[in-house]
């Protein structure tokens, strides 16, 4: 039996009369890349938001490293090492790339007076190393807001790595990125997974990308878990095909 790092059991979430997630169960294994797919409006992002504590769930259990986290707030969950990136890229636009990285250090053990700590040489070095890793080293002193959308996406990914998360939830990492850059991004995601040992749960619409990366894929449709399995099984699953083509 492999080691489950995130475990969702029968999670329900509705907004008024709209049921966004109904009895969703899902397991993310430690060290693996897990994919989450589904047509637009199927409740993928809602599920992400539930996991990171953005809104309370109606019922069900969410466990991270064996600990129930469905009652915790966003910041507390982030400090446990469960980090998310946003579908619409979010960076600190008026600060330079290096500053964006500096403030993304893990705040897990930050004590009160750490608020007034200076930049340490180690932090800068790590920031520059990671910026080089995503290919933004030359642009490190530029204002983050002046970067292109794709570059901001890379910066957001580097910021997430700076935070040394245990698990990274990526909401459509390749959306809006120039097709030639996508291969580079896939490569970096895989390397982050292999070299830094970061477990990943990825929402993705680009089938080529997700089939290429994930070892296990879940498919949501109309808020319910439609199918789960290895990429090959999912690709052959008639229910999944119907859901995407609208026959559901």
């Amino acid at each position: 039996m492999t080691d489950a790092i995130i475990e969702l059991v029968n999670v329900n979430k509705s907004f008024g009369g709209v049921i966004a997630n109904r009895d969703v169960s899902l397991t993310v294994e430690r060290g693996a890349i897990t994919g989450l797919i589904g047509p637009n409006g199927s409740g993928k992002t809602t599920l992400f938001n539930s996991i990171v504590g953005y809104h309370p769930i109606d019922s069900g259990t969410i466990r991270f490293e064996g600990r129930e986290i469905s009652q915790l707030r966003v910041q507390e969950i982030a400090r446990l090492g469960l980090l998310r990136t946003f579908q619409t890229t979010r960076i600190y636009g008026k600060m330079s790339c290096v500053q964006n990285m500096q403030i993304s250090i893990p705040h897990r053990k930050a004590a009160f007076f750490d608020m007034f700590a200076y930049e340490r040489a180690g932090v800068i070095e790590r920031a520059e190393h990671l910026l080089a890793f995503v290919g933004l080293y030359e642009k490190r002193f530029l204002r983050a807001g002046s970067l292109s959308f794709g570059q901001q996406k890379l910066l957001e990914f580097a910021m997430a790595l700076m935070n040394e998360p245990t698990v990274l939830l990526l909401d459509e990492p390749t959306a809006g990125i120039n097709p030639t850059l996508i291969n580079g991004l896939i490569d970096r995601l895989k390397r982050a997974n292999a070299e830094f040992g970061i477990t990943m749960l990825i929402i993705e619409h680009n089938m080529r990308v997700i089939m290429n990366m994930a070892s296990k894929i879940y498919c949501l449709a109309h808020g319910e878990m439609l199918a789960a399995g290895e990429p090959d099984e999912i690709q052959r699953n008639q229910n999944v095909i119907d859901a995407y083509l609208g026959a559901h």
């Binding site: 946003f86 600190y92 500096q102 403030i103 893990p106 750490d114």
Partner: protein, 360 residues
């Protein structure tokens, strides 16, 4: 923003300006003293309003709270406060030199601490609000403070308090308060330069740029916001203590909690100078103070019309402020680098380059 302290030349120039001003313009000592107070107002408002993106309309609350705390301490150390402030009092009370200065020193410290504690207490309410709601919520705190004091007999209610009289010649008194306010402004500038160079500066900038992202990254946003609010309250409390003693008579609505004058001035000065910049509030305070003194002197009766006009002009045409405009025009001088324009962007006019978001 990476420098941890002001440049020695800057410090030297500041000290020189502070000492030379009352010697060169002895007739304007009081006006220049108030200018330093304005710099304190603008710089402390900018901690939240500029650097953290929380536009407060209630900072004046801490100014008044400090003023009254100091008054109560100064009087209460030697006399019964209720008796002192009573309208029925007929005896004349004189403070000895020793009493005056011990009381004032302790009062000033108490004012800073009390204001900071009040900031922490109110932070639980106001930081539940964002955007315009935060502005209105903080304004509510300031108005409530004024009304509370105005109906509190023990501290003289709306009638106010005559502060202990300075034991010395008027010329000495003038210089004494001048140097206190200059010293405070100097300490505030040195402190803020250091503060903005630490992680604290980065964190409140991150909150300004995207608070939800900062939360998602695990930043202790609440802790940073409360501390920022308490820091500006601390300095405003001390400023209130000094200003209360300088005017010699305090009352709640026009002197301690002037929500429509000082409270608006601090925001206006920051907008004029450039919010979110270190020198913007200082430049704004100087320009604004000169404009204000001129209109108050030569267009008396029309001064608020002139002021209103200035507000409209700044908000409509000049949102980024003087320093903000300079930074946009000559970013390299300020150590900011923006992405070099790509080829297809060459046709774009410069005004389309990333601009600071409006005044919110």
């Amino acid at each position: 923003m990476s420098r941890t302290s002001l440049h020695p030349i800057t410090i030297g120039l500041l000290l020189l300006a502070g000492v030379a001003a009352p010697l060169l313009f002895p007739a304007y000592t009081n006006q220049i003293a108030v200018l330093w107070l304005m710099i304190v107002f603008a710089s402390t408002w900018d901690i939240l309003g500029g650097q953290m993106g929380y536009n407060s309309l209630g900072n004046i609350f801490f100014f008044g709270a400090g003023m009254y705390t100091s008054a109560v301490v100064q009087i209460g150390l030697f006399y019964d406060v209720g008796m002192y402030t009573s309208g029925a009092r007929t005896t004349h009370i004189v403070f000895t030199t020793a009493q005056y200065f011990t009381g004032f020193a302790l009062g000033m410290m108490a004012a800073g601490v009390a204001a900071a504690l009040l900031a922490l207490a109110t932070s639980w309410i106001v930081f539940g609000l964002r955007g315009p709601y935060f502005a209105i919520g903080t304004l509510g705190v300031a108005v409530a403070g004024a009304e509370l004091i105005a109906s509190w007999e023990w501290v003289g209610a709306a009638g106010g308090i005559s502060m202990p009289v300075f034991p010395g010649a008027p010329e000495v008194q003038k210089l004494f308060f001048y140097f206190l306010l200059f010293g405070l402004a100097f300490v505030v500038l040195v402190f803020l330069r250091w503060l903005y160079s630490t992680n604290f500066g980065l964190a409140i900038n991150a909150i300004r740029d995207d608070e939800e992202k900062a939360e998602a990254m695990g930043l202790y946003t609440g802790r940073y916001k409360r501390t920022a609010w308490a820091i500006s309250a601390f300095f405003l409390g001390i400023a209130g203590a000094i200003f209360g003693n300088m005017t010699g008579f305090i009352e709640p609505r026009d002197i301690a909690f002037p929500t429509t004058t000082f409270n608006i001035f601090m925001i206006l000065m920051v907008l004029l100078g450039g919010k979110g910049t270190f020198w913007g509030p200082v430049v704004g305070a100087v320009v604004f103070h000169v404009i204000k003194e001129v209109t108050w002197t030569y267009f008396l009766g029309w001064q608020f019309v002139a002021l209103g006009l200035l507000i409209v002009i700044i908000v409509v045409y000049f949102q980024q402020g003087i320093v903000g405009w300079l930074m946009e025009k000559y970013p390299e001088r300020f150590g900011i680098r923006v992405a070099p324009k790509e080829k297809q962007d060459l046709a774009r006019p410069a005004s389309l380059s990333p601009q600071p978001e409006g005044a919110e």
